[in-house]
């Protein structure tokens, strides 16, 4: 068969994938925009064009702003902390620490467990009176604290779970990158009398940069995409202290059944993801080209 003969062959090959991609990614993205300028159909009132009304609502909605602020804070704190820890893990596992196979397993295991399952375990950790943390802190006479019940500690408590779950996952990317750094560089650095910190700062860190960019982008996307632990541990509470954008969308759409307002919220989330995508391509443009 000649490759250039039948031009419909490649399109036939692409058809099933393209149809489903468009149906569940491109169409819904456009439909979200469309529905965000209509009112939600209710019993006795059909959906009508309302222009920017849903967005007006959004600007005046304190819960939306709280969710946005929480989400940005969530990304701003969990991403760097998880990255620092994952680099530390990778450096340790990379060196000949005793029992490093077991250690690697310990670090990586949270990454493959369902978030929903580990969230249940952490929920118990945080439970006042009975929970493990409460037991320990009471044993030391530090008293009891309702970690998930207090607005001030609920979001940080959830951040801990996310960091715990993701650091080991990122570690394997750093580990792979470290293994590709030529050993001669370490030898040269040693000859020059460089300290470990200097070697890391001047050699390893710059060489790990592409990995860091990759990890940061995926971590930021995850910060906006993953809300399983919110469902299990706080349901956005107390007093919206742990409200994140996607969870708020879920609540508005499937608890309050206001799909138009949920559409407007989704547009905000899509815009944020588009910004991430834009940054990604700008950052990577200089180093990569799809071919």
């Amino acid at each position: 068969m000649n490759r250039s003969s039948a031009s419909w062959v490649p399109w036939l090959l692409l058809l099933p994938a393209l149809v489903l991609l468009v149906a569940f990614t491109h169409y819904p993205a456009v439909a979200t925009l469309w529905h965000s300028v209509f009112s939600t159909a209710r019993a006795g009132a059909s959906s009508v064009y309302v222009g920017a009304e849903n967005y007006q609502l959004l600007v005046e909605d304190p819960v939306f702003w709280q969710a946005l602020r929480n989400n940005l804070l969530f990304a701003l704190i969990t991403v760097p902390v998880a990255i620092v820890l994952s680099i530390a893990m990778a450096l340790w596992v990379h060196r000949q620490v005793p029992g490093r196979a077991l250690l690697r397993l310990a670090y990586f295991t949270p990454a493959i467990l369902p978030m929903i399952a580990v969230a249940n375990i952490w929920l118990f950790f945080y439970t006042p009176q009975y929970g493990l943390i409460a037991q320990i802190s009471q044993a030391f006479g530090w008293g009891d604290h309702n970690w998930l019940g207090q607005p001030s500690t609920a979001l940080p408590a959830l951040m801990v779970v996310t960091i715990w779950k993701e650091a080991g996952f990122f570690m394997i990317f750093y580990l792979a990158a470290l293994q590709q750094i030529s050993p001669t560089l370490a030898e040269a650095a040693a000859l020059e009398g460089a300290s470990r910190w200097q070697f890391f700062r001047r050699v390893q860190w710059p060489l790990l940069m592409p990995t860091t960019v990759f990890v940061v982008i995926n971590a930021v996307i995850n910060a906006f995409r993953l809300v399983d632990h919110i469902v299990v541990m706080t349901r956005g509470g107390p007093d919206n202290a742990t409200q994140l954008l996607l969870y708020y969308i879920y609540q508005v759409a499937f608890s309050f059944w206001d799909t138009s307002y949920a559409a407007a919220l989704t547009v905000v989330l899509l815009t944020l993801l588009a910004v991430v995508a834009f940054v990604k391509f700008r950052l990577l443009d200089s180093r990569t080209h799809y071919q």
Partner: protein, 294 residues
């Protein structure tokens, strides 16, 4: 989502990855501080899991009472298994994960073949359309996708959960990269022998891309085994619910606060994937590295 720039991307030296995680020697031995720090963090990381095991295998009287003399029991597992249809949930998850993977492999193979080996008008536009899904994942389009699934009459079905994931941009991208590394000569030789396009795909490309298929399969399985929010939205009956949603229903409504039973159920939910992970640890880690991201 993947980044060709990353040293872990699919394009990079399969041979190196196949060789596993080689011991690194030039960087010297770890000193005491390293060891202590590494293990302190390791224990901290293991703590939640160790605790889950403790609680699941002891009666609830010992849930927070740590004593070496505490008798081991399987009662929590038995009770949890009887209290909720976990067997059914397990089958649902199994069907769900299998259906998604099968559809993904077939659709991605066909599309990747088109992109890798055919020159045609509009191929770049088509590829951009595919890549867009890497940015806008179905995960965040829950409202509109729910509307579509309801319109199709697939609410509360396993197919309804699975359908949005059938076409995977990531799978297409990964296989396209793999197919592009297949030497053109092999392709030509097969055609000279009289093989048609299907036979070339099946006999030449698919076998040569096997490691990539394995990597993608492991990533896809673990992602969809653990997926929660979308199945939670689409399902509302025992017949369609996967394990993750079943666990949440069990933990939030049925049980009050019997933590021993909840942790037992939690372990049951994670067990099949976790055991598979322990058995094929190296393949899993390499797959995640190779695939870049789930």
């Amino acid at each position: 989502m993947t980044t060709p720039a990353s040293p872990t991307s699919a394009t990079h030296t399969p041979a190196k990855l196949r060789a596993g995680l080689p011991a690194f020697s030039a960087n010297g031995r770890a000193n005491l501080i390293d060891t202590a720090g590494a293990w302190l963090l390791g224990l901290l990381w293991l703590l939640p899991l160790l605790y889950a095991f403790w609680s699941a295998f002891h009666s609830s009287a010992y849930a927070t009472h740590f004593s070496l003399s505490a008798p081991l029991t399987l009662e929590n597992f038995v009770h949890a298994w009887q209290a909720a249809p976990f067997g059914r949930y397990l089958i649902n998850t199994f069907v769900l994960v299998t259906a998604i993977l099968a559809a993904q492999l077939v659709l991605a193979t066909l599309a990747a073949y088109a992109f890798a080996r055919f020159t045609f008008r509009g191929s770049e536009v088509a590829f951009m359309i595919v890549l867009l899904q890497l940015m806008v994942m179905p995960d965040v389009l829950i409202v509109e996708n729910y509307r579509t699934i309801a319109w199709m009459g697939l609410r509360d079905t396993i197919l309804g959960i699975a359908l949005p994931y059938f076409a995977s941009a990531f799978g297409i991208f990964l296989l396209r990269q793999a197919f592009k590394t297949v030497p053109r000569e092999l392709d030509d030789a097969a055609r000279v022998e009289g093989a048609n396009a299907w036979q070339v795909l099946w006999r030449v490309y698919v076998p040569l891309a096997r490691p990539v298929y394995v990597a993608y399969a492991l990533v896809s399985i673990s992602h969809h085994w653990n997926n929660f929010l979308w199945p939670l939205i689409v399902t509302n009956s025992v017949e369609a619910r996967p394990l993750t949603v079943g666990l949440q229903v069990f933990a939030s409504t049925d049980q009050g606060i019997d933590w021993s039973m909840i942790t037992a159920a939690t372990l049951m939910t994670a067990a099949p994937l976790f055991i598979a992970f322990l058995l094929f640890q190296r393949q899993f880690v390499q797959s995640f590295m190779r695939a870049g991201i789930r």
